[in-house]
Subunit: 260 residues, 2 copies
């Protein structure tokens, strides 16, 4: 293996045995030297959680045809932190890729996404990073139609670069929607999850809930990730970790009466 | 209790028995009708995690002198979702307040913060919301010096309003730093956590890790939350849930060679 090949760290949130990460490792291996550090079980919906009140385990596994890989007991963000400090000895990889997630992480779901938190964690560290998600929650989802596009995006990230502090959120329509028409650079659609709770009784007669919800797109824009995905395109949203709502500052400075 | 009083939902991430939420309930009760829905145990560092692969419990508790309160087995974001759907019957409260957190949630910590995720979850729903944090991790932290400022901020949020979709992140210096000089509207400082991992051996001789880290401020700006806190002021950062890095779009559209 050439020492000139870029070092690509691969993680995810569905767990290290998920088909999605196997597909991503296969693509990344064509473009660089790959190291995998991923959760030892499902961590979907973990958002940007980190493990601070508990301990972490990190164990080598040999499930990727000889590629260096470790399973971690923590969250996706933990995986990236541990990878950098303990696996790579404090050296930053050239690129972090996360996924391929079994399910959409478009629009507002970026906030809940463990897949994207691994990528954004790298972004905070100044490492170029991309999260990949397929809009198909099935464990046996078909990834073949998106792999050439995943390869193209990784290749562009390595060759053209990603602006400092920016993390890319790539989502792809499910195979059932037909061939991917192309890739659109998009903004995050304004949307929300409309939650419902399925209330049940446990065997001891006590109430518990399952969260169920439906996605509600509130955004009619044709420059959004939701529009791209609904129209057969892959969506690519550049994301920042600076949550400051700059547009709100004049209002607050003028209207809020505060002891300054 | 007057029906005209605004309805204020209170949550946190340190758990419903933490001193910080008791202080926040006391202040909020002066300004509105309060309902508490908070985690049944510590959920620090949970980021915007939600519970999708497991069930949720929600049980009434009577620990706030007759104020309606529920403990929830889920994350802070779960608490807000359950509160709206199940406790308030689908009706939005007039304001959501979260905290007062035992520890800073300034700068980049907003991403890891369960306190802020409860508030941002409300923001996504279009509900005005504020997260409050004291830069003192102690369980017995002194909150008295910040309570008049917490009251002023809640009062302004109710009277002057918060722009739609914006969520406020309020942080306060510890009591040991002296009286609060005032409140500054700030942007999120550019910073990161420099993690170290304390590697140990368990009683069976196997390795495990504790994450430890130090905060590194990379931002010399005097308009940041870190500057305000370091100089004796409370910081108030308006936050958005739109992560789109708009400034990166021209570069990507020009430089990235993609199948469009």
């Amino acid at each position: 293996m050439s020492a000139l090949k870029p070092l690509i760290l691969v993680s995810n949130d569905d767990g290290i045995t998920a088909p999605g990460i196997r597909n991503l490792v296969a693509v990344a291996s064509k473009l660089g030297r790959v190291v995998v550090v991923a959760p030892d079980g499902p961590q979907s919906g973990m958002g940007h959680a980190i493990t601070i009140g508990n301990t972490l385990r990190l164990n080598p596994v040999d499930i990727f045809d000889g590629i260096e890989a470790y399973e971690c007991s923590g969250t996706p963000a933990d995986c990236v932190k541990l990878a950098k400090r303990e696996v790579l000895g404090g050296n930053a990889p050239d690129l972090v890729v996360s996924g391929i997630n079994h399910g959409s992480n478009s629009s507002i779901s970026v906030l809940y996404s463990g897949t994207m938190s691994a990528a954004i964690e790298a972004g905070i560290e100044g490492i170029p990073a991309i999260g990949f998600s397929l809009c198909d929650y099935g464990h046996n989802a078909d990834f073949t139609h998106i792999l050439p596009f995943v390869e193209q995006i990784i290749s562009e990230a390595l060759q053209s670069g990603i602006p400092p502090g920016v993390t890319m959120n790539a989502n792809f329509p499910a195979a059932s929607k037909g061939p991917i028409k192309g890739i659109k650079i998009c903004r995050q659609a304004r949307a929300k999850w409309q939650e419902e709770f399925d209330k049940r009784l446990d065997p001891r007669g006590r109430e518990y809930y399952w969260m169920v919800g439906s996605f509600v797109n509130l955004d009619k824009g044709e420059d959004t990730d939701e529009w791209a995905l609904a129209n057969g395109y892959a969506s690519l949203v550049p994301c920042t970790y600076d949550l400051t709502a700059y547009a709100a500052m004049p209002f607050l400075n003028e209207k809020w009466q505060l002891a300054r």
